[in-house]
Symmetry: C2
Subunit: 211 residues, 2 copies
């Protein structure tokens, strides 16, 4: 860890990718890897990799490389993946259902505790064994069941109100799938997945024939 | 447009966001906006905004600001949104279905022409009026129906094979939702939506109590 304990956002955003590649290496029984070989797999330059990983101690040893399992565990710990996160999904349409299913199989540490909707046709149905609850009862639910992450899968127009209620109920982070930038105070973390932005960027690269 | 006609990737990635905010302004009947006011809405500094938009001509006029509608149209045109993209989704699970529904209502320019799956239980069902086809017939389909964008909603282990077949069939761009980095030649564009990376990043910020 750096002296000030703060790792830059750019490095943080690269860590999940390092972790993903390291996991693949573990599966293949590979115990150590050089920054050069890691560069081939991950697409960053070896120098970038050494610089990134130096941020938190630098497991690499000259002539040996990185210990795959050690680095994987270290990155997981830095990312805060050695604890459990309770999550609530707001909006049980296709996207909400997809996210519920995805997170269920993705990792034990991320637990969907509840799904909420306003639509009477959806309230009461079960998604992956989790009953869809009435959004009217969100406040009461949050009082009784502390939630770390609120996942917004609603329309654009509802997203900010939903975020406000989630935060009032003690949620620490928002995973936002609504195509709008929600505003929160500094003590709340927001991670946006803007599908339209991603698709628009792809359209650009296709129409300009660039990678 | 810059002399060499190339806009940096960082700027390209910000353009969809500019476009989103400009669209909101249009809806609110706002015809022009200064870089300072745009900065408040979009979160980038006014100087960053001026620098970004100067990349393609700089519509801004001293004391007038940017013409909202003109800038919106210009960004859309740069992003390649003034044409139609035909898309095929591979994998009709929850995520594939969510993407099919999402893109249908998102924008007329992105048309889901077909959805493919290997699961006999899903082949033949209809999603948003589009029948799920047998993945076995993908090659023939692509020969007869040119597709611009292949959307990969399969498991990690199938993703690379699916990408190879899509590209062989003439697809120009891949929108990849499988949690793996797929390898393609330089003439193919790939845009990844790695949900796990996004969730891991959020976990970091929550556990470190940072934005």
């Amino acid at each position: 860890m750096k002296e000030n304990g703060k790792i830059s956002n750019a490095v943080i955003r690269r860590l999940p990718r390092y972790r993903r590649v390291l996991k693949e290496l573990m599966k293949r029984g590979i115990e150590r890897i050089s920054s050069n070989d890691l560069s081939l797999l991950i697409g960053y330059t070896a120098s970038q990799i050494r610089q990134d990983l130096n941020n938190f101690g630098g497991f690499g040893q000259q002539g040996y490389g990185y210990n795959v399992e050690g680095l994987y565990a270290q990155i997981g710990s830095i990312l805060g993946l050695d604890r459990e996160y309770k999550m609530a999904i707001i909006g049980s349409g296709n996207l909400g259902q997809a996210i519920a299913n995805y997170t269920t199989y993705y990792r034990a540490g991320f637990v969907v505790s509840a799904i909420f909707d306003v639509n009477p046709k959806l309230i009461g149905i079960s998604i992956n064994g989790i009953e869809v609850l009435d959004y009217e009862n969100l406040d009461t639910f949050l009082e009784e069941n502390p939630i770390d992450i609120g996942i917004i899968c609603t329309t654009k127009s509802s997203a900010q109100d939903v975020a406000n209620r989630l935060i009032k109920g003690g949620v620490k982070g928002i995973w936002n799938f609504a195509p709008v930038d929600i505003e929160v105070n500094d003590d709340i973390s927001v991670e946006n997945v803007h599908l339209s932005d991603s698709l628009n960027t792809l359209a650009y690269y296709i129409s300009h024939n660039q990678k």
